[in-house]
Subunit: 320 residues, 2 copies
């Protein structure tokens, strides 16, 4: 069975993992640990735990437990002091407190949720993501960066503080992978934070795995406005040190104009500007009907279809 290692965080990771879960591959998810917004941010502050949010999403994506168990993990409290918290986040944070480490918490949660494959935090250090913009403004924390509308005006640096040690399992996973999948996901808030951890870029460059970069569907306004394939690629290559990708997978299907219009306040469609044999343009869109009923956020109206995305990745796996 081929070993597929997915690197990312957030909902992008979720979509890839949920799709690949149904295929006969040995699956690992390497997850960013920079999240500090919402429920996760509150738990970090109040309980001193590591960020559970992205790990929870990956666990749910890979879970073979009952629908009930997955609904439980995704449940969000609405009111009062609990308002905004995800039950799954609380579950992971309490497991961390009770077992004494985030590593054991993820291990126990993986058993309880009966997951296929492995979920591996990129680091076990408490880190904060920071960014200095070209105008010398400092953005502190993943949430502040996520909400900024000035990033497309350029930034000087992005870094994790303190500079984190990589989780040693991550290096093994990358070294032993047959296919490495990077993306899709928030470029500065979910993907790059993985590349900022000590030794990760070197491990990726050194690995004999085939490497595929999955480009986002949509740009985020004020963050990646007007970005095309080449911009996404060069941003990631900037941290990797060289262009190691064997495949660049992106959507070539046009969403209905009405959806693009609704989405326009959030961002524009990513278009391909690269004439490169590595580029695979595929139909990767989820049907609007399917996505719309699940989630009424504008930015979720145009989404990858997890099945289609996994099928394209499996075409690559089948040729390994």
């Amino acid at each position: 069975m081929k070993k597929v290692v997915v690197i990312g965080g957030g909902t992008g990771n979720f979509v890839v993992l949920r799709g690949l879960k149904n295929f006969p591959v040995d699956l690992s998810a390497i997850v960013s640990m920079a999240d500090d917004g919402g429920s996760t941010g509150i738990l970090r502050d109040e309980m001193g735990v590591l960020p559970p949010g992205d790990v929870r999403q990956c666990l749910v994506a890979l879970s073979n437990s009952s629908r009930l168990m997955r609904s439980l993990m995704n449940y969000r409290f609405e009111n009062g002091g609990l308002g905004g918290h995800s039950f799954g986040n609380l579950f992971l944070s309490v497991l961390e407190k009770v077992t004494g480490s985030f590593e054991k918490a993820v291990e126990e949660a993986s058993k309880i949720l009966n997951i296929k494959g492995k979920v591996i935090p990129i680091t076990m250090n408490q880190v904060r993501l920071k960014m200095v913009l070209n105008n010398r403004k400092l953005l502190e924390g993943e949430q502040e960066i996520y909400l900024s509308q000035e990033i497309d005006q350029g930034y000087k640096s992005i870094y994790l503080e303190p500079y984190p040690k990589v989780n040693p399992c991550v290096i093994n996973e990358i070294a032993n992978a047959d296919l490495l999948v990077i993306g899709p996901g928030g470029l500065h808030t979910s993907l790059i934070p993985n590349l900022l951890v000590e030794g990760v870029c070197e491990a990726i460059c050194r690995s004999d795995a085939k490497k595929v970069f999955v480009v986002n569907l949509m740009n985020r306004k004020g963050q990646t406005t007007g970005f095309k394939t080449s911009h996404y690629l060069s941003e990631v290559v900037r941290y990797l040190g060289k262009d190691v990708f064997d495949y660049i997978l992106l959507n070539g299907q046009k969403p209905p104009k009405t959806l693009i219009d609704v989405y326009s306040s959030e961002g524009d469609l990513v278009e391909n500007d690269m004439d490169d044999p590595r580029v695979i343009l595929a139909e990767l869109l989820g049907t609007p009907a399917e996505v719309a009923k699940k989630d009424l956020l504008k930015r979720n109206l145009i989404r990858h279809d997890s099945k289609k995305l996994a099928q394209e990745l499996m075409k690559i796996v089948d040729h390994l």
Copy 2:
């Protein structure tokens, strides 16, 4: 296998169940649904759920799952908006929201926690416990009653509002029991609330089961100050309509004077005043060393030993 049905709520129930769990009996716990204090009270108010606290304690007492799972269920958050909540309470309340009913939530939690026997809420109605004191003061809610220091001055009435329908399973359990165990537990806040539910007292009186009343170890100051066996018995009989008990089990062991002194601000030792062949005086005390390290609350310094209590109850079962 003999069927033992324990009626109560709170920590009293926990001690009996934890002890009986290790014996070959068919065990059911019937649980009061009047709790509205602390974490449980907040969840009732903010989420509109039924009270999870007493059910959680019974589930943990009967759980055969890992020590980790039990620690998880008993974990209490310390700070911020989550401060004071028990993770197990959140778990039950979220299960109720996700499954759509408290009944299913208890059923699912029972599976997840791999419990021996059954935990059965006395009613599925949202109720509040109320009490009118002799001075015509109204105490609203279990928590207010629990904290009152005036109850030993006498009360006119105690009732659940609205008058609740009994959970039909409860009537079956009582009818089919070989042994019914009532108590120990907070007299007005954990025991009597079960007897205030429609049809419960009739079912107890009608049942062919042998019936044992387990009297509390200690009185609660301002609530049952100076109560002896006969006072406990007559309070319960007042609701049952007649004295149906075959056995009255209470502790006959004297705690060390130092512990009694420390406890004295919370309440005094219950002494036996009944010359009745039904009374069984047994050594039921937990060793202070064992209890002290677990819990530093004064009122927890003198406690039943779950093993000794279960052994006495099993002597009765063995004679059935």
